[in-house]
């Protein structure tokens, strides 16, 4: 087993990985940019080294600096997390050159499966059904636009190097094409250093259902079942669950076999995800392969009981996958929501800044994977993901009830988050019935949210009182509200209490 692992990432996934290291007795080495010095992953790691200025192209995307730290800190393995360099074949190659183990697939498998066009060519050869569209990067917008005409709108523009909805645009008609092409290209360039795009036909109201696979170095490839990630805003997954409300054991087996077939064809090793679109007839079409750990991996962990990061490390260390895992069936139901520093009231603009106060949920069935803490300043330079709230329950209903409960306990000030959006989603009838598709949320968001279904009649009154007390405190603590630590109750409080007990609330 490894002695020391370099975590080439930041935020919640860096924390997730160093926890796995600690549980395995492996030392963890964090890296940080100038604005991440006080980040949670630096606080929790065994060692931490600076790798440059805030912009990721000068820090987290600098393979040379990462290899330098790995060498000097004496690491024998590197975990890339997701995003940044996770799907860049140059990293595993650099690791090989430096004599450290890359915890992930070989560069060749990344190339064979990672790029969406190559992945689709392979899928066709492996008899995995695919969505019609271009197989290769398209250089000229004109070519792309004429292909769009042939396929018929709507079409989807995607970054060759893409992931996480970045560098992706839905084009409803020819008029929108030029600007969509421009925005997707420049977003892709900024996110991945690669502006190349391709396009495909856009299915109407499909579900996004993906299969988690694990492959060891000894030829074994297994499926851990599906995750449904149909609740997306502009192709950005927001809610993920396992099992899918519509996947039957039969369909699970079919999709799992297709995913395993494709992984074998690509010589895949370690953890990966094969994404499919599933239409109303429950026919599935290959979408792409993510040759890395997914943001949403915890929902699979919660229903299988497996620790995917530990398994990634074990596989990279050459361990074999036990046979038993081929027959894994999900237990209960798990659901994850992605908490972002963004403002749903204001067109989901990013909302970086200092976290002034917060209340995090705990208790039965609740798991939190996060990368922030109270008092920390969420930097403006990276993805706005604060963390993930994951609930588990015996049934989808119990899971949703727990998630809703946790979201009611969740509160943060200083930055805005999308928590209220999730409270809205979890109250929607369609969602409760599992009647969702990849455009469901975008359609929902065209309708303004109904005012407070939560029936807190006095909330406005309480807010006004708090505002006055807050203003009073601005004059200096002395004039403020009673502090919690003051002990004996005041006369008026006793008054109030007597009055409370003299009447039915």
């Amino acid at each position: 087993m490894f002695r020391k692992i370099l975590i080439a990432n930041r935020g919640e996934i860096a924390v997730r990985i160093l926890r796995a290291c600690r549980e395995l007795g492996i030392r963890s080495v964090a890296v940080f940019s100038d604005v991440d010095r006080a980040s949670l992953h630096v606080r929790l790691a065994d060692e931490a080294y600076p790798i440059g200025p805030a912009p990721s192209r000068e820090s987290y995307l600098r393979i040379d600096k990462l290899m330098d730290v790995a060498r000097r800190a004496g690491c024998d393995a590197v975990h890339p997390g997701y995003g940044f360099l996770a799907e860049n074949p140059a990293l595993p190659r650099a690791c090989t050159d430096s004599g450290v183990t890359f915890i992930g697939p070989p560069a060749e498998a990344m190339e064979a499966l990672g790029s969406k066009t190559a992945g689709r060519q392979l899928a066709r050869r492996a008899d995995v059904p695919t969505v019609p569209g271009a197989f290769d990067p398209i250089e000229k917008p004109e070519e792309a636009e004429s292909l769009a005409q042939v396929l018929g709108y709507p079409v989807l523009l995607k970054a060759i190097a893409g992931g996480g909805g970045k560098g992706m645009r839905l084009v409803a008609n020819a008029a929108e094409f030029a600007s969509a092409w421009r925005d997707a290209g420049s977003e892709a360039l900024n996110a991945f250093g690669d502006a190349r795009l391709y396009l495909e036909k856009y299915l109407l109201r499909p579900r996004h259902i993906e299969i988690q696979i694990l492959a060891d170095n000894h030829g074994r490839v297994v499926s851990l079942g599906e995750r449904e990630c149909s609740v997306q805003r502009r192709h950005q997954k927001l809610v993920e669950e396992a099992p899918s409300p519509v996947v039957t054991p039969g369909l699970r087996a079919q999709m799992g076999e297709a995913a395993v077939r494709l992984a074998r064809a690509g010589g895949y090793v370690n953890a990966g995800t094969v994404e499919f679109l599933v239409d109303a007839n429950l026919d599935f079409y290959f979408l792409e392969v993510n040759t890395r750990l997914q943001v949403e991996h915890p929902v699979t962990e919660q229903v299988t009981g497996l620790d995917l990061v530990k398994l990634q490390i074990a596989i990279a260390a050459g361990h074999r996958l036990p046979f038993a895992w081929e027959s894994i069936t999900p237990r209960g139901h798990a659901m994850e929501v992605r908490l972002y520093a963004e403002d749903p009231e204001n067109n989901f603009f990013p909302s970086p800044g200092r976290i002034l106060s917060r209340r995090m949920p705990t208790g039965p069935g609740i798991r939190i994977d996060e990368g922030v803490y109270e008092g920390w300043t969420v930097p403006n330079d990276y993805d706005p993901l604060l963390g993930k709230l994951i609930a588990w329950g015996n049934s989808r209903e119990e899971t949703i009830a727990r998630l809703r409960r946790a979201l009611e306990e969740f509160a943060v000030t200083g930055i805005k988050t999308n928590a209220a959006l999730f409270r809205r989603i979890l109250a929607e009838t369609d969602f409760l019935h599992g009647e969702i598709h990849t455009r469901w949320l975008d359609e929902l968001l065209r309708v303004p949210a109904a005012a407070s279904r939560n029936g807190y009649p006095g909330a406005a009154k309480a807010a006004v009182i708090a505002a006055a007390l807050w203003q009073g405190n601005q004059g200096g603590a002395a004039s403020g509200a009673p502090q919690a630590e003051e002990s004996e109750p005041s006369r008026w409080k006793i008054e109030g209490r007597r009055r409370q007990l003299d009447r039915d609330p």
Binding site: A462, I465, A466, P482, Q483, G496
Partner: protein, 166 residues
């Protein structure tokens, strides 16, 4: 101390009076059955007729207060003698031509209009990149772009005025 507070558009009066070491509170003139403690700066536990609310107050760049009360979110403005002038000023400004302000810190990556252009409400004025996402900043109203203060490549702070539309 008496406070005039605008909340969700509606005006309201809160009176805080010292009573022994604590405050007694009345709302719009009538004493309220309230038990309030501050748990930490800006975080209050308020029992109102026995109902338990946790209320979080934080100031916004524009001088208003963002208030989370239970699951509800409010924007409030406190008008007390000390802050009278500042609030008024803010109010007046809002009635003039509309400012297009940066909703978050970021970098202006593209201008979509030029000074003097006629724009529709909701039409894109420029694109700001923050946290790796490109965000189109739209016009608050139909009118003419009077001042276009932002330049491509410029870094901007939250609340910074980028353009004026009249």
């Amino acid at each position: 101390m008496k406070y005039e507070i605008q909340i969700a558009g509606k005006p309201c009066t809160v009176e805080l009076e010292r009573d022994a070491a604590r405050w007694s509170i009345s709302l719009d003139g009538s004493p309220a059955d309230v038990d309030a403690v501050e748990l930490s700066p800006g975080v209050f536990s308020i029992l109102l007729d026995g109902l338990s609310y946790e209320v979080r107050v934080s100031p916004e760049p524009d001088g208003t207060l963002r208030i989370l009360s239970g699951l509800e979110e409010f924007t409030a403005e406190v008008v007390d003698p000390r802050s009278w002038r500042r609030r008024r000023h803010g109010a007046l400004e809002a009635e003039g031509r509309q400012a297009v302000a940066a909703p978050m810190p970021g970098k202006v990556v593209r201008l979509l209009v030029q000074a003097g252009d006629r724009v529709e409400a909701g039409q894109g004025i420029l694109v700001i990149e923050a946290m790796k996402m490109q965000n189109e900043i739209r016009s608050p109203k139909s009118g003419v772009v009077e001042g276009l203060l932002a330049r491509e490549g410029q870094a901007v702070n939250a609340g910074e005025v980028l353009a004026w539309v009249d």
